[in-house]
C-alpha cells in the first residue's frame, strides 16, 4: 500500500504542494483529479523521486522510500509526453527496464516478456518500429508497456490520454483499464477529466490548489 503523508513541495521558491496526504491500497486504481496548476504532476514526480520533497514522507508497504534513489523504488511511471527513447526501437524501449530490475534475466525471458507486453497492448508486430514512426495512441501504449515490463509495485500515469482524439482516447481508456485489471497493478492516475477518472479508477481523489484533499 502507498502511503503519502503530509507531502509539501516547493520549486523555485514557489509552494506547489502543501501537506498533501494520500493512501492507495494494493490492487486498486486511484485517480487524482484536479484543475491545471493544482500540483497533480508534481505529486506523481515526487512519489517516484524525480522531484525532491520539501517535507513529509512516502512509504510503500511500510518501507519508507522518501530518500531512496529513484532507480531503486520499483515504481513505474508513464509521463504526459516525450518520455519514450526515440533512438531505440519499440522492442528495446519495452525491454529497457528489464535489464536493471532483473539483471540475471536470460535473453529468452526478456524476449518472452516483451512479446507478452506487445501482445497485451495489441502491437505484436511493432517490435522493430521506430518511436517516431508511431501514432500518438501507439506511443501511449508503448509507454504503458514499457512501464509495466519490470512489474513495478506501483504504476503512476500522468494524464496518459491527453492530446489524443476523442475516439482513440476512449478506446485506449478501455484498453488500459483491462490491462491494469489483467496485471493486478496498483495504479495512481492523474487527470483533469472527471469522466476519465470515473471510467478508469476504483477510487477518486479531488485536489485543488493549494492541495487540500477530498475523498469521494
Amino acid at each position: 500500500m502507498l502511503d503519502v503523508c503530509n507531502m509539501s513541495v516547493s520549486l523555485g521558491g514557489v509552494s506547489i504542494v502543501q501537506n498533501f496526504s494520500l493512501q492507495v491500497s494494493a490492487g486498486t486504481t486511484t485517480a487524482l483529479v484536479g484543475p491545471s496548476g493544482s500540483g497533480k504532476t508534481t505529486i506523481l514526480q515526487t512519489i517516484c523521486g524525480v522531484v525532491p520533497m520539501t517535507s513529509g514522507s512516502v512509504s510503500y508497504d511500510g518501507v519508507d522510500i522518501t530518500n531512496m534513489p529513484i532507480h531503486l523504488r520499483k515504481i513505474g511511471m508513464v509521463f504526459q509526453n516525450s518520455d519514450l527513447f526515440s533512438h531505440l526501437s519499440v522492442w528495446h524501449n519495452i525491454a529497457f527496464g528489464l535489464r536493471f530490475v532483473s539483471p540475471r534475466l536470460v535473453p529468452e525471458a526478456v524476449t518472452q516478456r516483451v512479446q507478452e507486453l506487445l501482445h497485451l497492448i495489441g502491437m505484436d508486430t511493432f517490435g522493430d518500429r521506430r518511436i517516431n514512426d508511431l501514432s500518438g495512441g501507439e506511443q501511449r501504449r508503448v509507454a504503458l508497456a514499457r512501464a509495466l515490463a519490470p512489474r513495478p509495485h506501483l504504476l503512476l500515469l500522468d494524464e496518459p490520454f491527453s492530446a489524443l482524439d476523442s475516439t482513440l482516447r476512449w478506446r485506449l481508456i478501455d484498453d488500459v483499464r483491462d490491462i491494469l485489471s489483467a496485471t493486478q497493478t496498483t495504479a495512481l492516475i492523474v487527470t483533469h477529466d472527471q469522466q476519465e477518472a470515473d471510467a478508469l479508477a476504483t477510487h477518486t481523489v479531488s485536489i485543488a490548489p493549494p492541495s487540500t484533499t477530498a475523498l469521494h
Partner: protein, 531 residues
C-alpha cells in the same frame, strides 16, 4: 465566407513567395562576396599547389614531417583535454538554472573572442617559464580558448533532450551513469562529435598561441606557413602546407559533422532551479567554481603583471602605452586602437547585412539542398585557417587591376569573411523560429511583403542582430592570423601590437604588452556585453 478564406489563403501564399523572391535576390550579394574573398583566394592556393613535385618535396622534408606530427598530436591532446574539462560546466549550464548562469556562460565565451596571443600572454604570466613555454602552456591556452566551443555546441543540443527522458530511464531502474550512457549520450553524441571536430580544427590551425608559447622548439603547420611565406619568402612550400592543412581539415570535418540529427525536436526545455535539488547543488557549484578559476586565473595574473616591473609595483607599463616611449620600437598604441575600432565598425557594416541575407535564404528558401549548400559555404571560413586565407588573399590580390595587398581594405575584407559564419549562426535560428502565422497575420492586416519583413522579422530578431554585430566586432578586434599576413606599417591593430610587445625583450615592454592586453579584454567584454 469562402471568398474571404480564399483571399486569406492567397495572402499567406504570397507572403512566403514574396519573401522567397527577396531572399533569392539578396543571395547574390553574399555569394559574390564569398566567391571573391574566400573561394578565389583558396582556389588560387590550390591552383598553385597543382605543382605536385613541390607537394612531394614538402612531405619528404623531415623538418616539415616533424612539424606535422607535433601539430597532429598537440591538437588531439588539446581536444581531448578540452572536452573532458568542458563537460562538467556544460552539464551544469544545460541541465540546471542557477544564479549567475548567464554571467558564467559569458565569462567562458570571452576567451573565444579574444586574440589567441592574449590568451598565450596570460598563460605566460600564470605558469612558471619552464611550463608556459612548451607543451603544457600550449595545451592550457588551447583548453581555455575552446571550452566555450564545447559549452555552446553541446549544451544547445543537451537542452533539447526532454528532461522526462532521463527521468523515465531512472524510474525504470537505470542508475545515473547508466542513464547517461544509454539514453543521454546517444542523443548528444552528434553534438559532441561536432564540438570535437571544431575544437580539433582550431587547435590544429593554432597560430597565435604557438607563436608566443611555442618558442624555437615547437611549431605548427599554421606557424610554418607564416614563417615560410613571410620570413623566408618560400611561397611554394607555404602553399603546399596550406593544401596539406586543408586536406586534414576536410577529413576531420567529414568524420565529425553530424549526419542525422532528426531524432530531437528543436525545442529548448526549461532547466530546473538547482536550489530545489540539494544533491546536485555541490556538483554544480564545483563545476562553476573550477571553470571560473580556469578561465579567470590567467587573466587576473596578466592584469597583476601589468603593474609589475622587475618584482616591483609600477604604473609605468600603463603610462608607456600612451606617452610615446614605445614609439622607437615601432609600437604606437593610439593609432593601433583607432585602426582596430575603425576596422571593427566597417566589419559590422559589411558582415551583418551579408549574414542577414544568408540567414533569410536559410529561413525562407523551400529548397533544402540549396539551403544546406549555401549555409555550408558561408560556414566554411570558420573551419579554414585564417593564415591560409591571409596567404591566399596576398597571392590573389597582388597584381593589377586588383593589386590590393597593401591596402587596409583587404584586411577588413578578411575580417568580414572570417566573421560571417558566426554572425550567420546567430541570425539563422531566430529567423527560422518565427512562426509563419505571424507574417501571414501581418499580410492579412494590410502590410506589404517588405513591411512584413521589417515590422515582423527584423523587429523580432533585433537582439540577435545586435549579437551578430557584437560577434563581428569581436572577431575583427581579435583577429590575428590573417591580420599578421595583411597588416602593413600604419595598419597595425591591437592584437598585432600586443604580439609585437610580447615578443620584445625587457620587463617594462612585456608588462606594457600585458597592460594593453588587459585593456583589450575590457574592450571586448564591453562590446560583447552590450550585444
Amino acid at each position: 465566407m469562402v471568398g474571404r478564406m480564399d483571399k486569406h489563403h492567397a495572402a499567406m501564399m504570397t507572403t512566403l513567395a514574396s519573401l522567397r523572391r527577396g531572399a533569392i535576390l539578396c543571395c547574390a550579394l553574399p555569394l559574390v562576396w564569398l566567391s571573391l574573398f574566400y573561394v578565389l583566394p583558396l582556389g588560387t592556393i590550390f591552383f598553385r599547389a597543382l605543382d605536385v613535385s613541390a607537394l612531394i618535396d614538402t612531405i619528404g622534408n623531415s623538418g616539415i614531417r616533424h612539424v606535422l606530427w607535433f601539430t597532429l598530436w598537440q591538437a588531439t591532446l588539446s581536444t581531448a583535454l578540452t572536452v573532458i574539462i568542458a563537460f562538467p560546466i556544460t552539464w551544469a549550464c544545460s541541465q540546471w538554472d542557477f544564479t549567475g548562469k548567464h554571467l558564467v556562460v559569458g565569462l567562458v565565451t570571452v576567451p573565444f573572442v579574444l586574440p589567441t596571443v592574449i590568451i598565450a600572454g596570460a598563460i605566460r604570466t600564470l605558469l612558471p617559464e619552464s611550463l608556459s613555454s612548451g607543451v603544457v602552456g600550449i595545451l592550457c591556452a588551447h583548453v581555455i580558448f575552446n571550452v566555450a566551443v564545447v559549452l555552446r555546441i553541446v549544451s544547445a543540443r543537451w537542452q533539447q533532450v526532454h528532461p522526462n527522458t532521463a527521468s523515465a530511464s531512472r524510474i525504470l531502474g537505470a542508475s545515473s551513469w547508466k542513464t547517461f550512457w544509454l539514453i543521454t549520450w546517444p542523443m548528444i553524441r552528434s553534438a559532441v562529435a561536432s564540438a570535437v571536430g571544431i575544437v580539433f580544427i582550431f587547435c590544429f590551425t593554432s597560430f597565435g598561441v604557438i607563436k608566443v608559447l611555442g618558442g624555437p622548439r615547437y611549431s605548427t603547420i599554421e606557424l610554418e606557413i607564416f614563417i615560410r611565406a613571410v620570413q623566408l619568402g618560400d611561397t611554394s612550400t607555404a602553399v603546399a602546407l596550406v593544401v596539406l592543412q586543408l586536406i586534414v581539415i576536410g577529413v576531420v570535418l567529414g568524420l565529425t559533422m553530424p549526419r542525422n540529427t532528426a531524432s530531437l525536436k528543436i525545442i529548448t526545455y526549461r532547466t530546473s532551479w538547482i536550489g530545489d535539488y540539494p544533491r546536485q547543488q555541490t556538483l554544480v557549484r564545483a563545476s562553476v567554481f573550477a571553470t571560473i578559476l580556469l578561465i579567470g586565473a590567467p587573466f587576473l595574473t596578466m592584469f597583476i603583471n601589468s603593474f609589475r616591473v622587475r618584482s616591483n609595483w609600477s604604473i609605468n607599463p600603463w603610462r608607456h602605452l600612451f606617452d610615446g616611449t614605445l614609439r622607437p620600437m615601432g609600437v604606437d598604441v593610439a593609432p593601433a586602437m583607432s585602426n582596430s575600432v575603425i576596422f571593427a565598425a566597417i566589419t559590422i557594416v559589411i558582415t551583418v547585412p551579408l549574414a542577414l541575407c544568408l540567414a533569410s535564404i536559410s529561413a525562407y528558401s523551400s529548397s533544402h539542398a540549396g539551403r544546406r549548400l549555401i549555409t555550408a559555404l558561408a560556414s566554411a571560413p570558420l573551419a579554414t585557417s585564417a593564415v591560409a586565407l591571409g596567404l591566399g588573399m596576398i597571392i590573389t590580390f597582388d597584381q593589377s587591376p586588383i593589386n590590393w595587398r597593401a591596402h587596409w581594405l583587404l584586411l577588413v575584407c578578411a575580417h568580414c569573411t572570417i566573421a560571417l559564419p558566426l554572425a550567420l549562426r546567430s541570425l539563422t535560428a531566430p529567423l527560422q523560429s518565427i512562426p509563419p502565422a505571424l507574417r501571414d497575420s501581418a499580410r492579412t492586416l494590410g502590410a506589404s511583403a517588405l513591411q512584413t519583413w521589417w515590422h515582423v522579422d527584423i523587429a523580432i530578431i533585433r537582439r540577435p542582430l545586435l549579437v551578430a554585430a557584437g560577434l563581428s566586432a569581436a572577431v575583427s578586434l581579435g583577429e590575428f592570423g590573417a591580420t599578421s599576413f595583411l597588416t602593413r606599417t600604419g595598419n597595425d591593430t591591437i592584437p598585432t601590437t600586443i604580439a609585437r610587445l610580447l615578443s620584445r625583450p625587457g620587463d617594462v615592454v612585456q608588462s606594457s604588452g600585458y597592460a594593453l592586453a588587459s585593456l583589450f579584454v575590457v574592450l571586448v567584454i564591453g562590446v560583447m556585453s552590450n550585444a
